[in-house]
Symmetry: C2
């Protein structure tokens, strides 16, 4: 008969969770994730309800407290809070430089403000960078080495993974593929530039072109549906978007020689017509060595990519061992 | 009285040198460098004398043997041979994929061929990458972290340093800034692309535009001299070059958020009018955070950058300890 080992210590670590937040110009998403990045609870608020900066910060704090309470957790269960934010961020100091599409934010020490109010570790970064991190770790770019991720929405953002790590640039402002000019002359962009990719393929520009062609308001979803049904006008719109996006992508492929490009965001919902044509143009117009080594994928994590990326940011930076 | 320590071993290591080679469409340069990258001897041959691949390889071998002999050295003094080559290279396997401007080279195992004939370690890489490495280690980009180097000649090449290391991409083909499109529509490029930067600001295109404007043949040097003397037509040419180069650079700055851009090659000889305008356009049109962190410098190492880069390649890869 073998004796059971004597139980000297019986100490149960509290289960750990992460709070991920994805702030967009339209929605503020808050989620509770476990350490395997599974979403356990989620709330979506309308960002535009909060006109003043102070109100938005209060809403973030209230939702965090609510999600902890609703799930019968305490602060000891929370490894940290990660926020993906729609603008340039000093992620080391936790400062929001500004938000192009949310007024009133200028050099806001958001990390310090939230840590003081929440008594939890807080990490902030640019939303497109976090989406890229998520797609690289868990999504369409899993297993690649040098990846460029692009998110197509009202704004066109992006993130770059180099040799397996998020590449931040010298002031954490890399990845702005939406602000690569695709013509010598062209429309003025909000960023101060000219002929930026975003001025041609941002949501608003696509919808405006579609309205002109269809002589009525039309949604992106309908445009995608109609293109699938071989509607010529809808196809024209998507071919133009693919062509313009591919101009920037050919440049990126020749410059960075990545093995993977991931495209997500609402506009990527166009699917086959968009992706087939982007792949075709890259194969034809990028340099042969680079074109032969790159794959173009649709993002896999959908609307949750930002939340998952925010959780990865916490997991990779929080000092508490788990 | 203290006794002298007994001399058990007396072994003098031979002084070590590196042979650097820079192969261009016009010149084949061969140099002997010491381990501090000082050029001790140098020979320049005309590449176009060697029509056939075999003749060019023989010329390289002959010049290496000659430079060793002329300097009264033996193979034991040579750490290795580094070659900067004008095209896409598999630097790990030492294979030349092809040269856009020298016919007859397709998947040539140059490293193996030369090592067999020379009985010396040989390392090969793309010339623009090696120039970038040289400017980063010893030239204009010394002390920077994320650098983009551009070389303006018949071709427009480049190299990227990321977090202090040469970034190669997934198949060693990164850095082709000359093949970023700067318009949706534009002239066909040798690379198969359209509206590539190189088709607008490659030497030949500049000289052709200048000839049209001046109604006679004119050299780059004269164009630069005339611009310095306030000649309107020459200034027009350089302003157009600066504007077009800046379209690609604004994209690169927004995408990569580098702290340093180095511009070299013959066209960079235009100097002030070119650099002042590039800096002005980047400050005005790149995104504020990125524009605020980037400096644009003229390359420092001139015609020797390729040779020095080739020597750095050897120094960093040769296994013999020195």
């Amino acid at each position: 008969m073998t004796s059971e080992p004597s139980l000297l210590y019986c100490y149960t670590m509290p289960s750990k969770f992460i709070i991920g937040i994805d702030l967009g110009g339209t929605n503020l998403k808050i989620a509770l994730l476990d350490l395997r990045y599974q979403i356990k609870d989620k709330e979506v608020l309308n960002t535009q309800k909060f006109i003043k900066k102070e109100n938005l910060i209060c809403a973030i704090i209230d939702s965090i407290n609510k999600i902890i309470e609703n799930n019968k957790l305490s602060r000891a269960n929370i490894l940290g809070v990660g926020l993906g934010l729609p603008g340039p961020i000093d992620y080391e100091k936790g400062i929001v430089h500004f938000f192009p599409n949310i007024p009133g934010w200028r050099e806001v020490k958001l990390k310090t403000i939230l840590e003081r109010k929440l008594r939890l570790p807080v990490f902030v970064d640019n939303d497109a960078k976090l989406m890229s991190l998520a797609e690289y770790k868990l999504g369409a770019a899993k297993g690649s080495r040098n990846t460029v991720c692009i998110t197509l929405g009202t704004g066109v953002g992006g993130g770059i993974i180099i040799n397996g790590s998020l590449y931040r640039g010298v002031s954490n402002a890399s990845g702005e593929i939406g602000h690569m000019p695709i013509n010598e002359k062209g429309p003025r962009c909000n960023c101060g530039g000219r002929a930026c990719l975003e001025t041609y393929i941002g949501n608003n520009r696509i919808l405006k072109e579609a309205k002109r062609l269809f002589r009525r308001d039309i949604t992106l979803e309908e445009l995608s549906y109609l293109a699938g049904k071989q509607n010529r006008q809808a196809q024209t719109i998507w071919l133009r978007v693919a062509g313009r996006l591919a101009v920037a992508l050919v440049g990126v492929v020749n410059l960075l020689n990545p093995d993977c490009i991931v495209i997500g965001g609402g506009v990527a919902g166009a699917g086959k017509i968009l992706f087939d044509n982007i792949r075709k143009i890259i194969a034809r117009q990028a340099m042969s060595v680079q074109a032969g080594h790159v794959k173009v994928f649709k993002a896999k994590l959908g609307n949750n990519a930002g939340l998952i990326g925010a959780a990865i940011l916490v997991r990779e930076n929080a000092k508490v061992s788990v």
